[in-house]
């Protein structure tokens, strides 16, 4: 009869994940903080350097390049990616054959970053890529997508929107299922047209989903790395050098673990602040049904 000892059993049940939490998340997090105050380079002895690594980041032009590139990417991916996913989900929600369309739109989600990266390297190839050949049919001289400093971030954003569209669409579709039909019926009786229904029923009642998708997309945008690593190695001329690229480069190319940790901690706080602000702002626009 084991129900008399809840403390023992509780800890027993959580122990595997608790060990994981300690060793693979909490202790490394504390360790990252400690490292960020040292000049450790991976080999020699390290010493405490105070805030020097943090100050160094703010003097480092690469750090600012990384921030600008990441924010630029985010400004493209978040609104465009979410808008397309939402419109797509709303369209699919009202037609027959939703299931078949869903299969196609979701397909890229299951593939790895490396494979989609290579696929887009070929599609976006400036000289022989199919995209520029298609554009030339309309008389447009397409840019050298991945080797032009002006176009490389939009190119990566394009890939990410394509790659993540199916995921966001599925979340929106699930959100739409949660909206009761009775609202639409009542609105019809009152003579509302399709746009009014969208504006006053769908959009507000979908805001909890939109909120979730926005937070997730912002967080993943801050962490964009794989695509740039595979397609451009951060180039040309650091034009696709992102924050995580900066962290990776300092740690595993330059072996300046202290500096890299400082950059990672800054990223952590930036994401934390962004998310907290989003949660604070949510009562201004997110509508929860009582």
């Amino acid at each position: 009869m084991d129900r008399s000892r809840p403390n023992l059993w509780g800890f027993l049940f959580i122990s595997p994940q608790l060990i994981g939490l300690l060793f693979f998340s909490l202790i490394p997090l504390v360790y990252a903080f400690v490292l960020s105050f040292t000049d450790w380079n991976g080999f020699a002895e390290s010493s405490f350097v105070g805030l020097a690594n943090y100050i160094e980041q703010f003097k480092n032009p690469d750090f600012f390049t990384a921030i600008i590139n990441t924010v630029y990417y985010m400004i493209l991916v978040v609104p465009i990616g979410i808008a397309i996913a939402m419109i797509l989900a709303i369209s699919l929600n009202k037609i027959t054959g939703k299931g078949i369309y869903r299969v196609f739109f979701f397909m890229p989600v299951v593939t790895s970053s490396v494979s989609v990266g290579i696929i887009f390297m070929w599609i976006l190839n400036g000289d022989f890529g199919i995209l520029n050949q298609a554009l030339s049919l309309f008389g447009i001289d397409g840019p050298m997508w991945l080797t032009d400093t002006k176009w490389v971030i939009p190119s990566i954003a394009l890939l990410s929107i394509w790659w993540g569209l199916g995921y966001n669409m599925v979340i929106f579709l699930a959100g739409l299922q949660g909206i009761s039909k009775s609202y639409y019926e009542a609105a019809s009786i009152d003579g509302a047209n399709a746009f009014q229904k969208f504006r006053h029923i769908t959009l507000p009642l979908l805001t909890p989903t939109t909120f979730f998708v926005t937070i997730m997309t912002i967080i993943s945008s801050f962490q964009v790395f794989d695509q740039a690593f595979v397609m451009t190695q951060g180039g040309p001329a650091k034009a696709s050098y992102t924050i995580v690229f900066h962290i990776y480069d300092q740690a595993f190319v330059d072996f300046t673990m202290g500096k890299s940790s400082a950059a990672a901690i800054i990223l952590f706080f930036v994401i934390l602040i962004f998310t907290l602000v989003q949660f604070k702002l949510q009562d201004r626009w997110v509508f929860y049904e009582k």
Binding site: I19, I27, M107, S112, I119
Partner: protein, 293 residues
């Protein structure tokens, strides 16, 4: 747009509505969606077509759509150039262990948080939630050092053990599901003297199967497509998982697009086949994880 297409089943008026207009707006929506779906799938189709061409066909302008001759040899060359089979084996067994262990360890923790009234449960649960906010790049360097200390660098343990023992998201999601299970179902068993272990195994687990399936799918995709961790931890090509093997393959054959496309197809096709067979479960599983998360 005074015509309201959504009300077909509500008002009897719709029966007298001009059918042609109704059909037209749906029809044009279908056309747009078909075009959209084509754009989504096109990159894969183009990859397959490109993978079967020779170097002389691939750089032709305007593009030659259908490969002629069809060069299956690109696939043989790719498979000979890199140990794809081995990478598949590595990815497969690593992913399976991670998925199975996650299902067990995460559901155990979720059950404890949902149903066992133990000391410190709340604080610990909040800790689990809080760690979901930590970007993995923050713990990337310390974890690398931990793996180094443990002697796990360049071994699969560096991928398997963290994956198997830590998944805060799975714990959170499964807890939400267990909270939704009516307590009456357990009460009879408690009366009969069943302990936590038996209730977890015989009552809770069978009832949360859909959530377990969703977690299995989500964890599978994450582990299978994981790029950053194996990139950092593994050095020996024989130990590579599919994504990083493909990445080094890419480095080897820059500008040999047919071969690169063949390598990409080799690494993508099995996942796409699984997807096509189990698409309903995969999409719905992902929807569940999104909604409760």
């Amino acid at each position: 747009m005074k015509n309201n297409e959504n009300t077909v089943n509500v008002s009897t008026k719709t029966l007298t509505k001009p059918l042609s207009k109704f059909n037209l707006s749906k029809f044009s929506l279908h056309i747009i969606l078909i075009l959209g779906a084509a754009v989504m799938v096109f990159p894969f189709v183009w990859t397959i077509l490109s993978s079967l061409k020779g170097m002389s066909q691939i750089f032709v302008i305007p593009p030659q759509w259908i490969p002629d001759p069809v060069l299956w040899s690109n696939y043989i060359d790719s498979l000979l150039a890199m140990p794809f089979g081995l990478a598949y084996f590595n990815s497969f067994y690593i992913t399976v262990i991670i998925v199975l262990s996650t299902l067990i360890t995460a559901s155990m923790a979720a059950y404890a948080f949902a149903r066992i009234n133990f000391k410190g449960a709340n604080i610990l649960f909040i800790l689990f939630l809080a760690t979901m906010m930590i970007p993995k790049q923050v713990t990337m360097i310390p974890l690398y050092l931990v793996m180094d200390k443990l002697g796990w660098l360049d071994t699969h343990l560096s991928l398997i053990v963290p994956g198997a023992l830590f998944n805060a998201f799975a714990v959170f999601l499964l807890r939400q599901f267990i909270l939704g299970v009516p307590r009456e179902l357990e009460e009879a068993a408690i009366m009969d003297g069943a302990g936590y272990g038996r209730i977890y195994w015989f009552i809770i687990l069978p009832l949360i199967k859909p959530a377990l399936a969703a977690i299995a799918i989500f964890t599978f995709l994450q582990a299978w497509n994981n790029f950053l961790d194996p990139l950092i931890y593994l050095n020996t090509p024989e130990k590579f998982t599919v994504p990083i093997l493909l990445n080094s393959f890419k480095g080897l054959y820059t500008a040999n697009w047919p071969l690169m496309m063949a390598g990409t197809v080799i690494s993508v096709i099995p996942v796409l086949l699984v997807y096509i067979v189990a698409q309903k479960q995969i999409i719905e599983g992902v929807a569940i994880t999104g909604m409760k998360g």
